[in-house]
Symmetry: C2
Subunit: 175 residues, 2 copies
Amino acid sequence: MASEHQLAPNEIDGLLTQFHEYLDKKQLRSTRQRDIVAKTFFGLSGHVNVDELLAHARTRSPKLGYATVYRTLKLLTECGLAAERRFGNESRVYEVAGDTAHHDHLICVECGHVLEFENEEIERLQDKVARSFGFTLVRHKLELYGMCPRARGIRGGSCPSEKLSGDGDAEAASK
Amino acid sequence: MASEHQLAPNEIDGLLTQFHEYLDKKQLRSTRQRDIVAKTFFGLSGHVNVDELLAHARTRSPKLGYATVYRTLKLLTECGLAAERRFGNESRVYEVAGDTAHHDHLICVECGHVLEFENEEIERLQDKVARSFGFTLVRHKLELYGMCPRARGIRGGSCPSEKLSGDGDAEAASK
DNA sequence: GTATCTGCAAATCATTTGCATTCTA
DNA sequence: TAGAATGCAAATGATTTGCAGATAC
């Protein structure tokens, strides 16, 4: 999918430690399942949906259920290690925190493929706007919806915008 | 709600005409219910959710059902007269098209109140980014989440950010 | 030991769909 | 009149919740 790099094992451990610290602080318990869900999540890249995460996590803990995954993702989101996203009408996907801070999304309205980009200047302006209203910016969500070059020409045809993203990954047929 | 102005009757009629043209073009039928839903929608300002819209529309057509409202909103969205939004985990709300073109949202993470803003410069940059990927920008969604001044000081207290927006409308207790 | 967590199944919520009936072109 | 739209109710899909048993502290 988009432009994410797998995290290195030591990075994963770092995030897991942060998770544990959060659990401690909130006097919640550190359990085998929570660790599995968290580590599995950190090990995945890009936009992770609940089904995917559950499937992967079940290789380590077969009886794991949706409820636990949802509950754990909620915790991860609370402590900032995961970020929820929703594109168009799709259902939720989650991203690992590290990525989160500084990238936004460019979505092809024809083929649905999602690219990621960063733009310091836009971020700066966002901050400025927020401050002008007296707000302290916590996070933001910017999604650009457009037509990729192919889609614009060949309306109705397939729209392999991923060919443009430089990470050659054929997931456009999804959904 | 945010900073919307009620549309004038002639503006509403204009939009309704556009809707009819779209229906024509698609060879769909113009019906009493569709008109009622559309006009009711155009007459509401700000972020309209389906329940609200249904409730209002039922004053004119009591047996109107959810299905029709959803189906009509889908049409309105297709032809660009409505825009779907989704903030955080809330369910969908719709905005009338006119508004849509050039404003984005600033949301207080404490009190949930939503302000609107416009920023030409950000728009320009968005366009630039999209073009740099070869995309033609169709629409965008920018949401800034932050803490309003009161919330930052008085954590846990109420967060009447609407007091700042200059349109003195007390809907913060919503949700 | 006790409060918290898990896993299951049942519940909920928003949205969509099937179908008999009603209406528009 | 034929094809499309409505309104109801039932279906769906995603997410949440209740609860009995398992587990962490």
